[in-house]
């Protein structure tokens, strides 16, 4: 069973002006100074928690960024290694010593077409 704790005060009682059809809500619960202090403290704690959560979330991104940076560095190293390997495989000495090059012969004569 609900209990209605709201009540209305007449305008006359409030000394309000005419034609102002206004009502004022008034809670029956009265909060004392200790309750107010506790509420303020709670609000500060909640705000603090929100700040800590956000800060932690940012730090989480930092770890992710670090992981990605590390991956990039790793891939860069792999790329460099492959480039070095590619350069070694296409180096003149390698090409000269290849089986294809060994089977090539020097042309006996070269003919040029006159332009």
């Amino acid at each position: 069973m609900s209990q209605n704790t709201n009540y209305y005060v007449s305008r006359r009682q409030q000394n309000w002006s005419r034609n102002q059809n206004t009502t004022r809500f008034q809670s029956a619960i009265k909060l004392g100074p200790v309750a107010h202090t506790v509420l303020v403290a709670l609000m500060i704690i909640v705000l603090g928690l929100i700040y800590v959560t956000q800060a932690t979330r940012t730090t989480g991104y930092d770890y992710e960024a670090q992981k990605i940076d590390s991956q990039i560095a790793d891939y860069s190293e792999q790329k460099s290694e492959l480039e070095v390997e590619n350069a070694r495989l296409t180096a003149l000495e390698t090409v000269k010593n290849s089986s294809v090059a060994k089977e090539m012969t020097t042309p006996a004569n070269t003919q040029y077409v006159q332009e």
């Binding site: 190293e77 350069a87 180096a91």
Partner: protein, 584 residues
């Protein structure tokens, strides 16, 4: 009701003590938090904020493969593997580490491996160097305790020792030494970046705080050289063959484009492997002899004297003089090395047979016709030094270039005797690059180009940005007609050696044999043989200039016998490589 403690009561004393302690706390906190604020903030930052250098990647060096750039010097990350012997002994896994290391990185593991692991008092012992990334990954997979890795960037030379003295090397501190690496060290090094940030215990940078700084590194420039790796390789092979043929100890070659000053090849033997520069015991091997070893150029310089004489109008190829195989200048008698062409002969004959008397005569004709007067000396100095660059730094982009010596006629030593010697290439010191650069001006129509080894750069997007076409640094150092006559004369001189060139091409050159000065006097048992020439389809289109020098300790080598075959070998190959069509 106001609570009040009785005077002298224990509660009042306790309250007083509490108040006093609280006051001390307040003052102490004030001291720590307000007065010492900066000090503690600095301490906290020192603990939490990490300052790191973001190393710039050193620029790579490219050569040309025809017209396309190919990498000649690259960077590779390798690892130094170290161990903490104490941990390994404690965990008793020395055998595991040894097996893994030798299986995976055999050649890179230090020989005294066991001794290193026994050093219990040490916490850091390097057990392998230059371990590749793949090898390092395999070692990491073994999950060995007490083993650590340190990444190190090193230069890699896929073409081995090709053009090593042009390139130079990078030492353990990352500084370029010799060659292009030293000359362009600043551009190749780039600028390191800076990272200043709060980190966690694992050194992971965190974005909290308002003092984070991240300045990215500016990587070094990727340089493309004018050196063509195919020509360079051919030249090095030709030098090696020449040294073997002549029993010489050292030789050098420069190949240049006559219409741009671009150096297509530059080689010296003996040389060294730049990836193992630390094994070189003779530092002289690091020097690029073509730019840093001035010598008496000898008879090649006769082309310079001839050009000066033609250009000043005192002689031409067909003009004659009376040759007696000797000529007297003051108290000295100058003789010809080749004798027998006595009588009235042309200057063409003098050049073909390299007769000293002909060029001393030209020097006299630049004066009053009988003496090498101050006017004659001034003229020669103007051409040799001022116009054709002998005794001057060329400005080529390589370190340790030497300028040589050419004595001015204004100096006491710049007398007639010296200038008579200079007319046939003695009494002055010049480098191969100087003589070659001056000669290109003599055969390209008369414009002097500063020699260069830089063709362009590879930008951040990997696009090749070629330098603008070279412009002559000195215009019309000789007249076009002089240039033409020099080409004809050297072509005639070369034609006296029949059957050495491919048919249908226009090749010219001049031999040189210079005595070596030892302890201030000319040695009787040692010479430097040189050959300086050009080649192309016809007289109007010289495509390359080649200069060869070859020398052996206590060896008499000759320009035509020892240097010219190297020129011929390279020249005939160049005609095919450059796809030059014969027109003759």
């Amino acid at each position: 009701m106001k609570p009040d403690l009785l005077k002298g009561s224990r509660s009042r004393i306790l309250a007083g003590i509490v108040l006093a302690i609280a006051t001390i706390f307040v003052f102490r906190l004030f001291y720590l938090q307000v007065i010492q604020h900066n000090h503690y903030v600095a301490l906290a930052q020192a603990e939490q904020v990490k300052r790191d250098r973001l190393p710039a990647t050193r620029g790579e060096i490219y050569a040309l493969n025809g017209t396309a750039p190919v990498k000649l010097v690259l960077n590779e990350t390798v690892y130094t593997v170290f161990v903490d012997p104490a941990v390994i002994i404690e965990k008793d896994n020395a055998n595991d580490v040894e097996k893994a290391m030798k299986d995976i990185a055999g050649g890179n593991v230090r020989d005294n491996f066991e001794d290193l692991l026994e050093k219990e008092d040490s916490r850091y012992q390097i057990i392998a160097t230059r371990v590749t990334r793949t090898q390092a990954e395999k070692i990491k997979e073994k999950d060995l305790s007490g083993v650590g890795f340190q990444a190190v960037s090193q230069r890699v030379y896929p073409e081995g020792q090709l053009a090593s003295q042009v390139l130079g090397f990078v030492n353990a501190e990352g500084a370029g030494n010799y060659g292009l690496e030293a000359y362009m060290n600043k551009e190749l090094s780039g600028v390191d970046g800076r990272l200043e940030t709060v980190t966690d215990v694992s050194d992971v940078p965190l974005t909290i705080g308002d003092r984070n700084i991240r300045e990215p590194a500016e990587d070094g420039k990727n340089v493309v050289m004018t050196i063509d790796r195919n020509i360079q390789s051919k030249v090095e092979q030709a030098i090696a063959d020449g040294i073997k043929r002549s029993g010489a100890t050292d030789a050098s070659v420069v190949v240049m484009e006559p219409n741009s000053g671009r150096v297509m090849a530059m080689a010296n033997l003996p040389t060294y492997n730049p990836s193992e520069y630390y094994k070189v015991t003779d530092a002289a091997l690091f020097n690029n002899g073509t730019i840093s070893a001035p010598y008496e150029p000898g008879s090649d310089v006769k082309t310079y004297t001839m050009a000066a004489a033609i250009d000043t109008g005192v002689a031409k190829a067909t003009d004659t003089y009376y040759n007696t195989d000797s000529i007297r200048i003051d108290d000295r008698t100058i003789t010809n090395a080749t004798k027998g062409h006595t009588g009235v002969i042309s200057f063409q004959t003098a050049l073909t047979w390299s007769l000293n008397t002909g060029f001393v005569t030209l020097a006299q004709r630049m004066g009053n016709g009988k003496e090498i007067t101050k006017t004659a000396r001034d003229t020669m100095y103007e051409y040799f030094h001022g116009r054709l660059g002998l005794g001057q730094l060329t400005g080529i982009e390589l370190s340790n270039e030497q300028k040589g010596i050419i004595i001015s006629p204004d100096e006491a030593d710049g007398n007639a005797v010296r200038y008579s010697n200079m007319s046939f290439g003695q009494g002055l010191d010049a480098t191969l690059i100087q003589v070659t650069s001056g000669f290109t001006a003599l055969i390209n129509g008369g414009n002097y180009y500063k020699p260069t080894v830089i063709d362009g750069y590879i930008d951040e997007d990997g696009v090749y940005q070629q330098k603008a076409a070279s412009q002559p640094s000195k215009l019309a150092v000789v007249k076009p007609e002089t240039s033409r006559q020099i080409k004809e004369m050297t072509h005639v001189a070369r034609s006296s050696f029949s059957g050495i060139d491919k048919a249908g091409y226009y090749i010219g050159g001049k031999t040189g044999t210079s005595q070596v000065i030892k302890d201030g006097v000319y040695a009787d048992d040692e010479t430097i043989a040189t050959y300086l020439g050009y080649g192309g389809s016809d007289i109007d289109h010289p495509e390359y200039v080649i200069m060869v020098s070859i020398h052996g300790d206590h060896k008499i080598l000759g320009g035509s016998k020892d240097a010219m075959p190297i020129f011929t070998d390279i020249s005939n190959w160049m005609l095919d490589y450059l796809k030059i069509q014969p027109k003759g």
